[in-house]
């Protein structure tokens, strides 16, 4: 385990894995689809969004109806090269407008939300990579790991910054931390002991990869650039990470949307652009599927505060070399509304289904029912 190469042959090799990686980028707070893929060719858009609307001349046009937000310059360029899929009208039946309930639904892929079930990535991991020899198969980088990665049997690894992702105490004492068996008589203690074991076994591998990572690609600092840079390091290393999750906050634009949303778009665009460029440097990078999602879109008509309230259907992006770019789903009608909100026409679980298949999993088993995979890869 001294070098990444050794750990790879020891841990990653023998199961004939295809070295594919799934990266999940969550836009926390409910991203406004209308300000992301802008329906500038729709008169209704300009009527309902008097204060937050984006001028047609600023939009990076896809066609005469819609285009990328001004801040999504790099993504629009990548879209033109066929490596970005724009999935329009994404949602699920009986949409829930609570951040937390809706996130639970996205994280569990279950319309009941959290009901004693694991997260969908947790289930993917347990089904597809059942042997628990590599805790870092699923990784969250940054604070607040999402529930999607939760698993009673295959919990994720999570770290903020690689430098402190190890116990800095006495080397000789370290083994004492996690020698305890999972028979302490307390189930919570057993689980904590498992987390400690995972932490210690994964930290050495992750550190060796991430801390030494060098790339000429210039990532924008901080959120979410650093996390994506670390993700790229893990992917290139072929350590065996299969799913990497990051979260970006700041999308709950109830007010001052005209300032806050473009700012988010620019930051996300720059970070994703760097990441996608960086991924081109290795085969593993070229086999990486990046999905960006948010728990819901926002209300069609803006509120009185220069913002928008919680809504329903939203937009997703699929990015990376394996992606078949283009438009998916229909742009939801701005007039035929579901109680003042956009109607969805693509169930997000269809996107999950194709991601699960891409990752070599069985979508019906993981999702609990069959969804026609969206042909984004």
């Amino acid at each position: 385990m001294a070098t990444p190469g050794v750990s790879l042959s020891m841990l990653g090799g023998p199961r004939g894995e295809n070295e594919r990686t799934l990266v999940l980028v969550e836009f926390k707070g409910g991203n406004d689809g209308l300000s992301t893929i802008v329906p500038f060719g729709d008169d209704v858009y300009h009527q309902v969004r008097k204060r937050t609307r984006i001028e047609p001349k600023q939009v990076h046009r896809i066609d005469e109806y819609r285009g990328f937000a001004p801040g999504l310059k790099a993504l629009s360029r990548r879209y033109a090269t066929g490596k970005v899929a724009v999935i329009q009208g994404v949602g699920y039946p009986n949409p829930n407008l609570s951040h937390f309930k809706s996130l639970e639904i996205w994280h569990t892929a279950d319309l009941r939300g959290r009901a004693g079930n694991d997260g969908w990535v947790g289930r993917l991991s347990a089904e597809t990579w059942p042997d628990r020899d590599l805790p870092e198969r699923t990784i969250h980088i940054g604070p607040e790991a999402p529930y999607s990665l939760a698993s009673s049997t295959h919990p994720p690894v999570a770290f903020h910054s690689p430098d402190t992702y190890r116990w800095l105490g006495d080397r000789d004492a370290e083994a004492t931390l996690d020698d305890g068996g999972e028979d302490s008589g307390s189930s919570v203690l057993d689980r904590l002991r498992g987390v400690m074991r995972d932490a210690r076994s994964s930290s050495e591998r992750i550190l060796s990869v991430v801390r030494r990572y060098e790339t000429k690609v210039d990532y924008p600092g901080a959120d979410p650039g650093d996390a994506l840079r670390n993700a790229a390091a893990l992917i290139h290393s072929k350590l065996g990470c299969r799913v990497i999750s990051i979260r970006v906050g700041g999308f709950d634009t109830h007010a001052n949307q005209v300032f806050d949303h473009p700012d988010r778009m620019r930051k996300v665009d720059a970070a994703l652009d760097a990441f996608l460029t960086d991924l081109q440097r290795s085969e593993a990078g070229k086999k990486t599927l990046v999905l960006a999602y948010s728990e819901f879109g926002r209300r069609v008509r803006e509120n009185g505060s220069g913002g928008t309230d919680h809504g329903k259907a939203g937009v997703m992006f699929a990015m990376g070399e394996p992606v078949k770019g283009g438009l998916y789903g229909k742009y939801p009608s701005l007039t035929d509304l579901d109680d003042s909100d956009l109607r969805f026409n693509v169930d997000f679980r269809r996107v999950y289904a194709s991601a699960i298949r891409y990752m070599g999993g069985q979508d019906e088993v993981v999702l609990g029912q069959r969804f026609e995979p969206l042909k984004i890869v």
Binding site: H160, S161, L168, L189, L192, A199, H254, F259, S305, H310
Partner: protein
């Protein structure tokens, strides 16, 4: 053990021993032999449990003392708390500066704003450290425990509100009513300026409703998801129109923006206003169930079963949402002490750091504890969302578990930061500030953008990215990319990180400690007083002192085995160890660090 511990029981607690406890009619001495009167299993474990959950933990010796009293007496003392707590006073006073600022040109305004913002953050940190200090001192622990609960329930964050005064006032409302009436709290919170700002209600006007407060009022503050409809949200938003703030941040009812029409909410139609809606909500069974469930789950660590929830919800409603009788019932309920609940709650970062500070009886600046908890995503006055914090096992990831132990090692001085991070020998890790200050000053000279940091408070640079301030927002967004993460404790470097720089998680804690920090602890001295003469006794004593729960035998055996090997390595006998403080103390601190890094140390 107990001899030393008596010193640590706050005088206020001792003074309260004599408080008359309703319906008991027996003195503390007389009850010594009657603990079996109650069906609460009253022993070391359950006493510690009570202090862990109703407060922030207790030293082993203090637990032994409490055991000599009845559960009723101890609970009554917790409910009474100290009446002598004196909250600090702060001036609202930003109005003069704001008026002056309006006359300034753009660059002066930026500067003034950044300075204002820095001062404001400092004020919030000052108040936070007062609060955490209260938790450590433990003279009104249940109030502070419940304040933390309500702070998570009525979560409001500084990033949005941007005025410390408003958050401090909100906290005063919460703290004063923490054991009082939830009804008062709920009525107060919909008119609370910080909440109004946080959930955009000043923009919620007749004809142009904003649903943010309406939704969270029902979903998170009172009823819970699933107990209202989307139409209810829209109608409640109408009822809340006009609940607003003036430019100074004071609450105002703006009648001209209020929608006085009829609304149908939760099946009732009336001309509801804010108070009317709150009263309507309080009448719902779902409300008492939600609040009862949240409190029980917070304090027990597991959700109550249906029978128990119904019982407590009915009790809460019958007692007009008074929290004190509710807590009395809960803390004296034998089910609060059942096996499933004992030692099965994962501590929050604050619980962990405050608890270990208390158990080590170490003097640590509360700001250090705040910085440490902030690095684990528990930032006071800045919860991650309006939902507050996910409690329990959600706190633990592989990363956070390691980080807890590392910060403890820094607190105990057992981690050599310089060696660990291979800092250049000429560079003092504690002087990162100086470097930064120089870089910031340089940047300021070059671009006139950055504001120099004149002091070493940890939030120095954070103010730089702050572009808006209450009503003064001129909409400029040209900051250095820090509008997202910058919060009270979250600091970003002003200059690019050098390769050998310290990781942020550790840097913030070290900065807050400052160069004069030394761990004020003397474990060798403590153990000598306890007369622990064998490895087993030393390990046993420290496990008992430092952990909130008893450890399984296998853990004890492993720690002992490690300690014995360590002692033998330095060539001292069991008997001789404590007589050599210069050798023993580092060894004991490393032992304490190990113990506090164990999975067991996360439980209370």
């Amino acid at each position: 053990m107990s001899r030393r511990i008596t010193l640590l029981v706050p005088a206020a607690l001792l003074g309260l021993l004599a408080l008359p406890s309703a319906g008991l009619g027996v003195s503390a001495e007389a009850t010594q032999t009657e603990p079996q009167e109650t069906s609460i299993p009253w022993n070391r474990r359950t006493v510690e449990h009570l202090y862990n959950r109703a407060g922030f933990g207790v030293r082993a010796g203090a637990a032994a003392k409490a055991l000599r009293r009845t559960p009723e007496e101890v609970v009554e003392e917790l409910l009474s708390g100290s009446k002598a707590v004196e909250p600090p006073y702060y001036q609202q006073g930003t109005t003069v500066e704001m008026a002056a600022m309006r006359a300034m040109d753009r660059s002066d305004k930026r500067r003034a704003r950044a300075l204002w913002s820095r001062d404001d953050r400092a004020q919030l940190l000052d108040y936070s450290s007062w609060w955490v200090d209260r938790m450590v001192r433990h003279d009104d622990p249940l109030r502070d425990r419940m304040s933390l609960f309500w702070h998570g329930l009525f979560a409001t964050n500084y990033q949005t509100v941007k005025r410390s005064y408003d958050l401090i006032e909100q906290h005063r409302l919460i703290r004063e009513n923490a054991l009082g009436s939830y009804s008062d709290l709920l009525h107060g919170i919909v008119k609370d300026p910080a909440m109004i700002a946080f959930l955009d209600n000043e923009k919620n006007r007749k004809g142009a409703p904003n649903e943010n407060l309406a939704r969270e009022l029902m979903e998170l503050f009172s009823l819970g998801e699933g107990h209202y409809t989307e139409d209810d949200v829209k109608e409640v938003a109408r009822a809340l129109t006009g609940e607003s703030r003036d430019r100074l941040g004071n609450y105002v009812y703006a009648g001209r923006y209020h929608d006085g029409g009829r609304k149908t909410i939760l099946g009732e139609t009336d001309r509801f206003d804010a108070d009317g809606v709150v009263d309507l909500i309080l009448r719902q069974t779902a409300c008492s169930r939600y609040i009862a469930g949240r409190i029980i789950t917070y304090l027990e660590g597991v959700e109550p079963d249906e029978v128990r929830l119904a019982e407590y919800a009915a009790w809460l409603k019958r007692h007009d949402y008074e929290i004190e009788p509710f807590l009395r019932k809960l803390l004296l309920d034998p089910r609060f002490y059942r096996e499933e609940v004992l030692a099965a709650r994962v501590m929050s970062p604050l619980d962990y750091y405050v608890g270990l500070t208390r158990r080590l009886s170490m003097n640590v600046d509360s700001k250090v504890l705040i910085a440490a908890a902030a690095q684990l995503d528990q930032r006071l006055f800045d919860p991650p969302s309006v939902k507050g914090w996910d409690e329990g096992e959600a706190w633990i990831t592989t990363g956070s578990l390691l980080q807890r132990g590392n910060t403890t090692g820094i607190l105990l001085g057992t981690i050599d930061v310089r060696a660990t991070f291979q800092l250049k020998p000429e560079r003092d890790p504690f002087e990162v500030d100086t470097e930064r200050r120089r870089a910031a000053a340089e940047a300021q000279r070059r671009g006139g953008e950055a504001v120099g940091d004149e002091n070493t408070e940890p939030m120095d640079e954070a103010g730089m990215g702050d572009d808006s301030m209450g009503g003064m927002d001129d909409g400029s967004m040209d900051d250095g990319g820090m509008s997202m993460g910058d919060t009270m404790m979250r600091t970003e470097p002003a200059a690019d990180d050098a390769k050998d720089d310290l990781p942020k998680e550790i840097r913030d804690v070290l900065r807050t400690m400052g160069p004069s920090y030394r761990p004020q602890v003397n474990l060798n001295y403590r153990l000598r007083r306890m007369k622990t003469k064998t490895d087993a006794k030393i390990v046993g004593a420290l496990l008992e002192e430092l952990l909130a729960i008893p450890v399984p035998e296998d853990t004890r055996a492993r720690v002992l085995e490690h300690f014995r090997a360590e002692r033998e390595r330095i060539g001292l006998t069991e008997e001789g160890l404590l007589k050599n403080p210069e050798l023993a103390e580092p060894l004991l601190r490393r032992l304490a660090h190990l113990i506090l890094s164990l999975p067991e140390a996360q439980l209370s």
